[in-house]
Amino acid sequence: MAAVKGDALFTPERLRLIAAAIVVLNGFFPAAWILLTSFKPEVELVQKPITYLPHDFTLQNYVQVFRQQPLALYIANSAIVAAASTVLTLTVSACAAYAIARLRLRYRDLILSAIIASSTFPLVTLLVPIFETMRALGILNTYPALVLPYVVLSLPVCTLVLVSFFQSIPRDLENAAMIDGATRFGALWRVVIPLAAPGVFTAGILAFVNSWDEFLLALSLNSAVRMRTLPVGVALYQGEFTFPWHIISAALIVAIVPIAVLIALFQERVVGGLTAGGMKG
């Protein structure tokens, strides 16, 4: 017993627990701290020494954030832009990926490399001409102004993920469908897409997160208050005298929860998609 007790301080079990605690603390602490902040009344945030757990627990900040700021509008804008660009990205990249994975194509490798290479272009350098293009098209401060560049933003990774999924589906299934009278597009829609559903789903999550998180273009192209997306809307909150941290923290939690739930539900898909996109790139 005594001998075991001597070693017991660093059992493999405990070391693993410590390791897990470090990773979990690193990942969750910032969000957890903001969550605690959001439950504190404004006066508690400006007193010293600072409190860790809220002394005066309140939900007032959450009420205020919807009343004082058009947070609901920002959420709606973000949701519309992210949903529209996700659907469009999936459509465009599924078409491209199918052509690359399945059809006889002369410059297959070149086309795939070109799509991947486009993801290494620094988007910020294209900010000016994209801004001018959108102004020329008269669509600054509209949803399409963001949806179009966001499709391009997610196109490379989604195409990569879908190409590898399409390649894993046996050709015979499509051929069978085409012999039964389906056109190639019919076979793509009715046979290939349903079978590649997990891949489509993974690509969809990546596209959604990309759009939900994007800041620079949203800030530059859709600067009107009624068109702001969540990150821009929250970052540009102005207090009368100081930055209203009690309101900001509540807004941050409201904005982070949807994306956190999404990735919590589909963790394995997201990890798979990220690493597939990363490995090949």
């Binding site: 897990a20 990773v23 969000a31 465009v92 801004f131 293009t133 998180d213 990220l274």
Partner: protein, 311 residues
Amino acid sequence: MTTLLASTKDAPPRPRVARLLERLADPSERVQAILLLAPAALLLGLIVVYPIAKLVYNSFFDLRLSGGQRAPFVAFDNYQSALTDSQFWNALWNTALFTIITVIGALIIGLALALLANLPFRRKWPVRLALLLPWAMPLAFAGLIFAWFFNTDYGVVNDWLMRIGLAPRQWLLSPGTAFAAVCIAIIWKSSSFIGLILLAGLQMIPRSLYEAAEVDGATRFQQFREITLPLLAPSMIVALIFRTITALQTFDIPYTMTKGGPARATETLAMLIHSTTIDYGDIGYGSTLAVLMFIVSMAVTALYLRRIQRD
């Protein structure tokens, strides 16, 4: 199948119009491929190719006057002013420093996270979610959260410093500490993505290699140096390239944490381009800055790609 082929072979020759209609209804594989690739090509043309051309074109004009007059062609004047513009050099220097520090920092922290997360846990999801959450969070939010951490009066970082007996600092209010704080925020945000990529790489290393090394009496550290690191190298290079490309574009975190201040100490090239063009409307000069940045980042990408091809 044979009957199908036979029937088409026996069919009498049809007039040209009918054949054309038939081709439209069931286009050849080549036409199909072109149709399927067209939307992607169109979008890339509109959002990437045309803007690059327009960018280079703009950089040769003085586009400050937004009236009806034609913008004067100024050849390389914009480039000349950029090379003598202290704000440009300051932003370039900051961007380079941010890139070097945060790429190395995120690689080290990411590797540590991956090694810790690769231990055989009974429940895998808390650790995986802890790696995913920073990745999924908008950069702008990470900036806001860390700005609150580093708040001089009510931030948790100064509280920690005081608890261990150190003097609190005016983190975001003085140049050096503001730079450090922004670096910490960027490293936190980006190390989880690197951690995820490296974790996937670690999981592909066969267990048998470690078992064999253990039989041969290799220590843990030797195993790490002789097996883990070399076999992880490809994943590390991929992570490094992705991270460097995004680090060169650093915008969101310094913008939300410090707005580039104090005294432009945390202003990056991306921020300078944004303020020059969007805030001050100097499209010509902003385009020039963008072209210069484009050249820098393409050079870095090319350097890496050559490195990979050699390996």
